[in-house]
Symmetry: C2
Subunit: 144 residues, 2 copies
């Protein structure tokens, strides 16, 4: 993966091809949308929290530190709508609702781990690059 220079497929010559890859006309749901979904601050955390066992609303609110009630609701709805979360209502008093990640969601999470792996692999390199960049800019700012 790292020795070859073929990360971008050979047939990918123009940016229009990239659009096909990323915005994709044939897909009912474009990759861009999926990306936006998982890029949200909370979605993945919810998927992880509900991966191994069903979780209740308040339980998630406690588990996921810093999430607001509003954002929890919104994210849960979106995930449910996309079929990434299964919502089960027990018609008791008081009500009990459980959320659980679907198999599809777990696969998405697994795919997401490739990004995480990249991060881990190159993290210090990126950090070093940032230091160099910032120092260079600071130096320039000085002698002006």
């Amino acid at each position: 993966m790292s020795q070859r220079n073929t990360a971008v497929p050979e047939q990918l010559k123009t940016l229009e091809d990239a659009d096909l890859l990323l915005e994709s006309g044939e897909c009912p749901v474009p990759p861009r949308e999926i990306l936006d979904r998982i890029a949200g601050k909370w979605a993945i955390l919810i998927v992880v929290a509900t991966a191994r066992q069903p979780r209740r609303f308040t339980e998630l609110e406690r588990l996921i530190e810093g999430i607001s009630r509003r954002m929890l609701t919104l994210t849960l709805r979106n995930l449910e709508r996309d079929g990434l979360l299964e919502r089960t209502v027990y018609p008791t008093v008081p009500p009990k609702v459980e959320y659980r990640a679907t198999e599809m969601a777990l696969e998405l999470y697994e795919a997401m781990l490739t990004i995480t792996n990249w991060s881990r692999k190159h993290s210090s390199c990126v950090a070093a690059s940032r230091r160099r960049y910032d120092e260079r800019r600071a130096a320039e700012a000085e002698h002006i």
Copy 2:
């Protein structure tokens, strides 16, 4: 990948572990930040555009449809700072500047393709789930 139920690692029992995975204390640059970077609307398009050949500022502005001058500059700076883009200045008049994706960036793009692949694989399933969800909600709204 799809027959096993181990998308979430066995040792991942609590959400704190997930935090370690996603927000990661040991990483100088947390995965979350990388995710935000590539989730931006433009970064990946720029990486793709500069993958096979160096591109000039105005060239990118034309290639990447819909990007504003401001966002192009901002995204280029961020990518350069992170070491994902190499910026070369030719001190001519008028100035000429070229951007080119680094090897690291191409690897990240490749990793990102796993997400795209997930999308393609499950796209119609997600779309179907959305239809069902929307219809259900519409039905509920009616008999109220």
